[in-house]
């Protein structure tokens, strides 16, 4: 069983290495198929391993295995440790499964790009990193995976590296992630110093014995990492910019897998967070604020991918609320369903962009329903799942989170509940704003000029792009049924063992009530969106939501977070570095002023040799004076 997991872990790495080394010696198409094949095998391995895990008795489901000692120093020891349990299995399946589909999709999407091989190498590398993150049984190793996904994300966002905006976005993502890495690393350091180990077994066992302050600080430091990776407040600003990367990347990394790593981390570290209630409350607060803010900003974005990106941020904020409330299973469940419908939405958007020759501005779309009916249908399913319309997948998972808030019942949980419902309204509006602007209303002149011919020639897309979309559509529609309140209980049962201290589980009544409310709100949102955007209008008109210019301006500028960072950190750092370089380093490092010293010694040397004027009388004079001087000194001293 563990062998299969190791295989699943190693295959993408091998794939990446083979692609990198062979490079141009591979046929262009072959790279994509090879990478996809690797993913398929990895998925199959994961699936079999999961089945084998499921066949075990409950108490034997957490498997730990060390391949070799990775790093030692003194009492510090980190093994290359595999940790395979129910949560790992879910993540494995999501990563390999969705990952496989997106690889296949990419074959079509990237066709014709001269750097295809590099793209698939990066993609495989990313999958390896993500798998390392989820299967590692040691925090340091998790951090390694954590960093490597950041790296692959950087590489993929900046894939079209001749675009300065892409490189800028990639760097931004990497630096933000690095801040998170450092936070996470500090948390791990603190845990090691308190517990003497970084292996999960030791940490879980010792978490309970930590005093609450230490636990809180450690948990908050881990949270910094989670927040950065999952693009939550206040380290979220990289995610919208990350849409500069190719669309499959957005689908894989910035929707289905990497950004959810923060949720996974919190769920994984639940024994620690359990010991740190303040940290859990912080997570809820971050989640509520994030889901509202991201939803609001999504309302005014004009880039199709950015709208989906903010939606992602908002949905992950829901997951944060879920895990923050202690309903780890609900958070992971939402992660699971979200992976399907968000990947679907991105890939659908990708089809649209493909058909429009790379256009991403929704103002230049419109009326595509007739041209791209298959795409429209799939995306509609995805959008409905996102809004949480019964019985599609998103509804079940999101409502599970909200219902958990009801079950918890604290004031903060009520805030979360209300906030979550408000968020559902925003979700409805922005999702269908997108759908209406893209597929309904009258075609924009650009779309009219481009789309019909493109579709006529190539169809809505090559089959390698369409089939993954279909499969995801199916998934988005049905995976919610794993956990129908009162009927099926698969997900909760499966994940229950991961939280030794137990998980919050709402009653069926709470869930159905919440579903009722949430679906109504979602439908209301769709209605509002229809009211606002389903009218015919000139595409050049600015798409405002409210009347107040201030609000619009603020939302369009994403609530000034970027400007805040620029003013607070980036510019001072740049200024400081410039000043240090220009004015400070030279005097400080040049404490031995070789120039000045050289001039000084040269001056001294010249003054000394002035006496050496070649005149023998002067020499004799110096000798006489020297003798007289020595004599004088000695006589004075003796006398």
């Amino acid at each position: 069983m563990t062998g299969l997991v190791w295989t699943a872990l190693a295959l993408p790495l091998a794939g990446a290495a083979v692609l990198a080394v062979l490079g141009t010696r591979l046929p262009a198409r072959g790279a994509g198929w090879l990478a996809s094949l690797v993913m398929l095998v990895a998925f199959v391995c994961s699936a079999i391993a999961t089945i084998m895990l499921a066949s075990r008795p409950h108490e034997e489901r957490a498997v730990v295995e060390t391949a070799w000692t990775w790093l030692t120093a003194g009492s510090f020891q980190v093994g290359l440790e595999l940790w395979f349990d129910e949560l790992t299995a879910v993540m494995l399946l999501v990563v390999t499964g969705i990952g496989f589909l997106i690889h296949v999709y990419s074959i079509g999407y990237m066709r014709g790009d001269e750097q295809e091989r590099r793209f698939f190498a990066y993609l495989n590398l990313f999958v390896f990193s993500m798998l390392l993150l989820v299967v590692s049984g040691d925090l340091v190793l998790l951090l390694a995976g954590w960093g490597l996904v950041g790296l692959s994300s950087y590489l993929l966002i900046g894939f079209w590296h001749q675009k300065p905006s892409a490189i800028k976005a990639a760097k931004k993502a990497f630096v933000m992630n690095a801040i998170g890495d450092v936070g996470l690393a500090l948390g791990i350091l603190l845990l090691f110093i308190e517990l003497g180990t970084t292996a999960y077994t030791g940490v879980f066992a010792g978490a309970g014995s930590l005093d609450s302050w230490t636990a809180t600080i450690a948990a908050l430091l881990l949270l910094v990492g989670a927040v950065a990776k999952s693009a939550q407040l206040p380290l979220h600003t990289w995610l919208p910019d990350a849409m500069e990367g190719p669309t499959p990347v957005s689908a894989l990394i910035h929707a289905a897998t990497m950004v959810t790593a923060g949720v996974y981390l919190i769920a994984r570290m639940n024994p620690l967070f359990h010991a740190a209630p303040y940290a859990l409350e912080t997570i809820v607060v971050i989640g509520v604020l994030g889901l509202l803010m991201a939803g609001a900003i999504a309302l005014v974005q004009t880039d199709i991918k950015r709208i989906i990106a903010f939606s992602t941020m908002s949905q992950i904020a829901y997951m944060f609320v879920g895990v923050g409330l202690g309903a780890y299973w609900a958070g992971i469940f939402h992660l699971f369903t979200h992976a399907f419908f968000k990947a679907l939405l991105f890939m659908g958007a990708g089809l649209v962009i493909h058909a429009l020759h790379g256009e991403q501005d929704v103002r230049n779309m419109g009326g595509l329903r007739s041209v791209m009916p298959k795409t429209y249908f799939c995306m509609l399913i995805g959008a409905l799942a996102l809004v949480g319309i019964f019985p599609l997948s998103g509804g079940f998972s999101k409502d599970a989170i909200l219902a958990s808030a009801l079950e918890v019942g604290t004031p903060l949980a009520w805030v979360a509940y209300i906030g979550g419902l408000a968020g559902a309204l925003l979700t409805g509006i922005y999702t269908f704003r997108l759908m209406f602007l893209v597929f309904h209303r009258r075609m924009s002149p650009y779309a009219e000029a481009v789309a019909p011919t493109a579709v006529k020639h190539h169809g809505e897309g090559p089959s390698s792009m369409l089939w993954p979309v279909y499969i995801l559509t199916l998934g988005a529609a049905v995976v919610g049924l794993l956990q129908v309140p009162g009927l099926t209980h698969v997900f909760f049962d499966w994940l229950e063992p991961i939280a030794p201290a137990g998980m919050v589980e709402p009653s069926a009544a709470q869930e159905w009530l919440t579903t009722l409310v949430a679906v109504s709100i979602g439908v209301a949102g769709i209605a509002i969106a229809g009211h606002l955007y389903l009218r015919e209008f000139d595409a050049t008109e600015r798409m405002r939501l409210g009347r107040g210019r201030l609000v619009d301006h603020a939302l369009e500028h994403r609530l000034y977070w970027d400007d805040l960072y620029a003013v607070a950190f980036e510019r001072p750092a740049q200024w400081l570095a410039a000043v240090l370089r220009r004015d400070v380093d030279r005097p400080v490092a040049g404490w031995l002023p070789t120039d000045g010293l050289g001039t000084l010694t040269a001056f001294l040397g010249r003054s000394v040799s002035v006496i050496e004027n070649g005149v023998v009388r002067s020499y004799a004079l110096v000798i006489a004076l020297g003798m007289a001087g020595l004599l004088l000194a000695l006589l004075v001293r003796a006398g």
Partner: protein, 487 residues
């Protein structure tokens, strides 16, 4: 029987022979490369035979100048072996690169590089202060000549600067060594073992100054910029890659064990300087206009960090510092070779005139990316592992120390990304169109690749190194640690 003495004498003799025997130019180069590869093999044999718990090994101990109590005493422990291994690799790659670059007057360049290697081995293996001094000072000569003769346009000024700084430090150290050796209780004795704990503060500072300048530790880095910028790539690689490690190694293997009491007492100062230097170098690297500037200041930052790690005086700190030195040797040597390759192809290292090199140069892009990512310590890389150990040590010492130090890691990400994108990405610079060979290939690639592969290997199993280093490095700081605890 191959011992540490073999390690020293073979490159020394080979270097001198290559220097003076008038072989054909190419032949001299290939001979030098052969010897350098032989040294890699010899060191590999040592690594294979090394017993981590057995202390100093492969040693020789013979009378040298009995009148002064000076012995030819050389042996390798884990720390010395790690650095010797990386030295052998870096020098081999540097010679390989020089061969590719068709350096003129091959005899002299490669002969001198081999002699440098021999002296570096002396430093890493010395168990006698006199022997140590010979290595520490001796390695300067060939490097200086290499800098002064084959350097860039301002090589004279750079040479003078290097000499002024380093000679100043080492000569004061010589006086200190004399004091230690001649005031030994049982007649003159220059062995390190006899010097443990006998030094006073003045002697301590004389040593510390020499090492701080060589490392270079902030604020003794004034010579670094001119030296790294003016020397030819292979020499810069050896200078920043391994020669600077002599300073860091000396802190760990000489200063701390010999002066446990002072080391514990003044550890705070070195920690402070290390911390400042780490951030300082990172900030300055961020604003450098060319590749060499970035690498040079990042080297200052990294070596300051190493010193910080050493003076935390615990197992993780010292092992981490050693590991970090190995990593940095590989990274900076490879980066300098790469920067040199770029300059030789494009005619400039100026960021404003480069860029977009990744386009249709996949090999260059891959190698540069791997190195860049290693340099910025992406988690999972070997540099990350070593930095993590030092951070761990810092955090264990004081939480705020670790927290501030972690800032430097974020800064490292910023400047290395700037380097990568300025060279590889974005729009093509005006010089890039004129490049002759389109991609990193053949000789130059073969010179850089082993360094990159070594980094990757260390990333996969860093414990292979730390397990061998750990017992030795713990021994080195044990005395000072006990003193610190007693305080």
């Amino acid at each position: 029987m191959i011992t540490a003495t073999t390690l020293i004498t073979v490159p020394l003799i080979a270097g001198i022979v290559i220097l003076i025997v008038p072989f054909a130019q190419r032949l001299a180069g290939y001979l030098a490369l052969l010897v350098a590869l032989g040294m890699v093999g010899a060191v590999a044999g040592f690594v294979y035979r090394f017993e981590p718990m057995a202390g100093y090994q492969f040693g020789d101990d013979a009378e040298w100048i009995p009148q002064l109590g000076i012995r030819w005493s050389v042996a390798l422990d884990g720390v010395g072996l790690a650095l010797a291994a990386v030295t052998a690799l870096v020098v081999a790659c540097a010679i390989g690169y020089g061969l590719w670059a068709r350096r003129d007057r091959t005899h002299a360049t490669f002969g001198l590089l081999l002699i440098t290697e021999a002296f570096l081995f002396v430093v890493f293996a010395a168990r006698d202060l006199f022997v140590f001094y010979v290595g520490f000072e001796g390695m300067l000569i060939p490097l200086l000549v290499l800098l002064a003769v084959w350097g860039g346009d301002e090589r004279r000024k750079a040479t003078v600067q290097v000499v002024a700084y380093t000679a100043f430090g080492t000569l004061l150290m010589l006086v200190a060594i004399l004091w230690l050796g001649l005031t030994a209780p049982d007649g003159p004795d220059f062995s390190m073992a006899a010097a443990v704990g006998r030094g006073n503060d003045l002697v301590f500072w004389a040593f510390a100054l020499a090492f701080a300048i060589k490392s270079p530790l902030f604020p003794f880095h004034g010579w670094v910029m001119p030296a790294y910028r003016q020397s030819s790539p292979e020499v810069a690689a050896v200078l920043s890659g391994v020669a600077s490690k002599a300073g860091g190694f000396a802190f760990l293997a000489v200063l701390v064990p010999l002066f446990p009491e002072q080391s514990a007492r003044y550890a705070w100062l070195f920690i402070a300087l290390g911390l400042i230097g780490f951030l300082w170098g990172a900030l300055l690297a961020f604003r450098q206009p060319d590749g060499r500037g970035v690498i040079a200041y990042s080297s200052i930052a990294q070596m300051s960090f190493v010193v910080l790690g050493i003076f935390l005086l615990n197992a993780q700190g010292s092992t981490g510092a050693t590991f970090q030195m190995v990593n940095h040797a590989l990274v900076s040597a490879a980066l300098f070779l790469l920067a040199g390759w770029l300059e030789s192809q494009a005619g400039s290292g100026d960021f404003r005139r480069l860029g977009g090199l990744a386009r249709s140069r996949p090999i260059l892009a891959t190698v540069a990316l791997v190195l860049g990512m290693a340099a910025l310590a992406v988690p999972g890389s070997s540099v990350f592992a070593s930095e993590f150990l030092i951070l761990l040590a810092a955090f264990a010492d004081a939480w705020w120390l670790g927290t501030i130090a972690s800032l430097g890691i974020v800064l490292a990400a910023m400047y290395m990304l700037r380097w990568i994108s300025a060279v590889l990405h974005e729009r093509e610079g005006d010089l890039v169109g004129q490049l002759r060979p389109p991609d990193l290939r053949s000789g130059a690639l073969l010179a850089v690749l082993p360094l990159a592969l070594a980094l990757i290997a260390l990333s996969v199993a860093p414990a292979q190194l730390t397990e061998r280093v750990d017992p030795s490095s713990q021994m080195m700081v044990a005395g000072a640690f006990a003193d610190k605890e007693a305080r």
